[in-house]
């Protein structure tokens, strides 16, 4: 394996997408997710486009890089614009490797939203993956529009008042061929969705709830268990949307109380003992989702789920 930015023609193809020696914190969801993306692509290396976020810090400093794939560090709001140019030229030269935008929630929900919307509306050929840690993690933990209600951040010191933005509904509104939510606690489902995205053409949007012990004030060893709890409690539903109009739920809540989840993260300390606002959010979220699935179910043509 090579660890230099220059790479090496002999070893490049047996390289890892995320190399050892990267700068990720212990328990970071990205470390799991990038390895699983690599495994799902079965050795095929994408071109990565990464805006300002922890994901580019992961690479480390020049001339080394933790990424075993050609990688462009984009300005904060520009990753889908760069990816448009890259995938356009790849197509003109009949190159088939996927172009993947790898961005945090700040670059996706907030500063990059107009750019993502435009690339999705043009149905550009790229896989957009948001690793969502529900906070501006790279700058030390400020609120984003992906931060859930009640969460304490350095800019919402008594707990955020507003609910998390529904980015999946926004992306569905663009009628993109494929959108899905992914969990780093559900490997089979995760791998299947990456393969599904890889096999689809056009703009594909994948949302990963990505644990961040530093920002969530949680223990690194709890990371995957926390995500499992988020899925089981119904806080983070696993589902797919086809062409923006057909819905499929992959996992339903099993009744786990949300208290279990919030009590193990000090970011929720402002609402610890009174999770009613989160419970109301979960109820509304599932009311909407079940309604969509009932009214607009996925069909057999949408394939294995």
């Amino acid at each position: 394996m090579t660890t230099t930015a220059q790479g090496n023609q002999e070893t490049a193809y047996c390289d890892y997408l995320l190399r050892p020696g990267n700068t990720n914190c212990a328990g970071c969801g990205m470390s799991i997710a990038l390895q699983w993306v690599d495994q799902a692509l079965e050795g095929e290396k994408p071109t990565l486009v990464i805006p300002a976020c922890c994901g580019i810090v992961t690479a480390g400093a020049f001339p080394t890089s933790a990424y075993g794939a050609p990688t462009a560090a984009a300005t904060f709001a520009s990753s889908p614009a760069l990816a448009t140019g890259i995938s356009t030229i790849a197509a003109l030269n009949e190159e088939t490797q996927p172009v993947i935008c790898w961005a945090g929630d700040g670059g996706t929900y907030d500063i990059g939203l107009a750019t993502i919307s435009a690339a999705a509306e043009r149905n550009e050929n790229m896989i957009y993956i948001c690793y969502d840690n529900e906070i501006y993690g790279n700058t030390g933990g400020q609120r984003s529009s992906a931060t859930p209600a009640g969460v304490v951040t350095s800019t919402t010191t008594s707990g955020k008042g507003e609910r998390k933005k529904d980015i999946m509904a926004i992306m569905a509104g663009h009628h993109i061929p494929y959108a899905a939510t992914l969990s780093v606690a559900h490997r089979d489902d995760f791998i299947r969705k990456i393969k599904r995205a890889r096999a689809t053409k056009g703009f594909r949007f994948l949302l990963i709830l990505s644990p961040c012990p530093t920002g969530w004030k949680s223990e690194p060893e709890d990371s995957t268990e926390l995500i499992s709890m988020a899925v089981r409690s119904g806080l983070f539903p696993l589902y797919e949307i086809f062409d923006g109009v057909r819905y499929c739920i992959n996992k339903r809540p099993d009744g786990l109380a949300i208290d279990e989840y919030i009590n193990r993260q000090r970011r929720y300390r402002a609402v610890a003992g009174d999770p009613t606002s989160l419970q109301a959010f979960i109820k509304d979220q599932w009311h909407h989702l079940e309604g969509m699935v009932k009214a607009f179910p996925a069909t057999d043509e949408d394939g294995d789920r």
């Binding site: 690479a59 050609p70 614009a81 448009t84 140019g85 490797q97």
Partner: protein, 390 residues
């Protein structure tokens, strides 16, 4: 070569398209396209053009227009776009990024006043706003100069000794929307003049690099020093390009600047773009009256041609700089550069005139009055506003 009566925008769009088409044998071309008055016709022309191996992406903003160009160029393609005024302002972050990535993108800047208040007429404050970005900048005085400079820009920008993006500027409306007779190049000539674009550091799966990631101070300093060294090579590389251009097209465009009758001049006036054309007529008329007056048409602003400027000014005692742009709290932006350059010539009386801001028509009479003012001066003062709006 077709001699045609066309607008500046048409000439620019046509030339960009032929340059893009000329890269079909390599990795093709791509433009990010977003409209803004007065450059809109350029991106419309590009969208209509049927590229063999290229795509013009209709994006949602200037920021993304440059983003698409960056992506395409990182993928090894020839890339170009056009913008004006607040569009350039909105694009600024990615303008800097394109230069720091060392990508040879060519952008047409159709100069327009920045707002608010909203004004669509000419003022060079938009492209000069990014004077501290790692881009070459050329200012064109005619439609023909525009066509020729666009072609030269691709050749110089993509030269492995330079590898920097380039702005080619023209006056909004005065150039973009008026017609002049132009020798429009043929595809074969453009293809003969422009080698295929080779971005040596492009993204490649055979050599997976991370471009634009983190650097320490040492690497960052080195990066900036390399950019400066490339800037310093521009005059030489540009001259080579002009020599080749002359062989293929049979004419010789202006290089870093154009001096007229400065050899024996006591007074030299410096201006760019179409004001320089008007100034040329004024100088000609005054020469008929045996005045020892000359002019310098400023063309290349980045890198700023200090040595060539000092040489062009010669033994002039008075130098007047006409600026159609304004750096609040300072003065004209060309004047700032020229003042820094003429520190080496302490005996020269240098005076700045701010004229035609917001697109006011700079007539020969106004230039005459400026020259009269300059000739009557015994010392320079703060930049003088020459208000002309009636």
């Amino acid at each position: 070569m077709a001699r045609e009566l066309v607008t500046g925008n048409h000439a620019a769009g046509h030339t960009l398209a032929l340059a893009g088409e000329a890269n079909s044998a390599a990795r093709g071309c791509c433009a990010g396209a977003y409209p803004i008055t007065p450059q809109t016709e350029i991106i419309e022309y590009l969208r209509r053009f049927d590229f063999t191996k290229g795509r013009v992406v209709p994006v949602e903003s200037e920021h993304s227009a440059m983003g698409v160009c960056i992506g395409a160029s990182l993928a090894g393609a020839r890339s170009f776009t056009a913008s004006s005024s607040n569009g350039i302002a909105y694009m600024v972050e990615n303008i800097f990024a394109a230069g720091f990535y060392r990508l040879p993108i060519v952008m047409i800047a159709v100069n327009r006043t920045l707002g608010p208040p909203w004004n669509i007429w000419v003022d060079q404050g938009d492209s000069l706003m990014v004077r501290d970005a790692p881009w070459l900048q050329f200012y064109c005085d005619s439609h023909q100069d525009l066509v020729d400079t666009i072609l030269l820009s691709f050749r110089v920008a993509e030269d492995s000794r330079i590898m920097l993006p380039t702005i080619v500027a023209m006056d909004g409306f005065v150039t973009s929307h008026t017609q002049m007779v132009v020798d429009l190049p043929e595809q074969e000539q453009v293809s003969a003049f422009l080698p295929v674009c080779n971005v040596g550091h492009r993204l490649q799966h055979e050599r997976p690099t991370t471009i634009g990631g983190l650097t320490w101070p040492r690497e960052t300093e080195h990066h900036r020093i390399e950019i400066q060294k490339s800037m310093e090579r521009v005059p030489e590389v540009l001259t080579e390009a002009i020599d080749t251009f002359e062989k293929i097209f049979g004419r010789r465009p202006a290089g870093v600047l154009a001096a007229t009758q400065t050899e024996d001049a006591d007074t030299v006036i410096i201006a760019c773009n179409t004001i320089a054309r008007t100034l040329g007529n004024v100088v000609k008329a005054r020469r008929k009256n045996n005045e020892r007056i000359g002019m310098v048409r400023a063309k290349m602003f980045r890198p700023f041609p200090r040595a060539e400027l000092i040489s062009a000014i010669g033994s002039a005692k008075r130098v007047g700089v006409l600026d159609r742009n304004h750096s609040p709290g300072s003065g004209g932006i060309f004047w700032q550069e020229i003042a820094a350059t003429l520190r080496q010539c302490p005996d020269v009386l240098l005076q700045n005139y701010l004229v035609g801001l917001g697109g006011g028509d700079v007539t020969p009479e106004i230039i005459d009055s400026i020259i009269d003012d300059l000739n009557g001066r015994t010392e320079s003062v703060e930049p003088i506003w020459k208000e002309i709006a009636a």
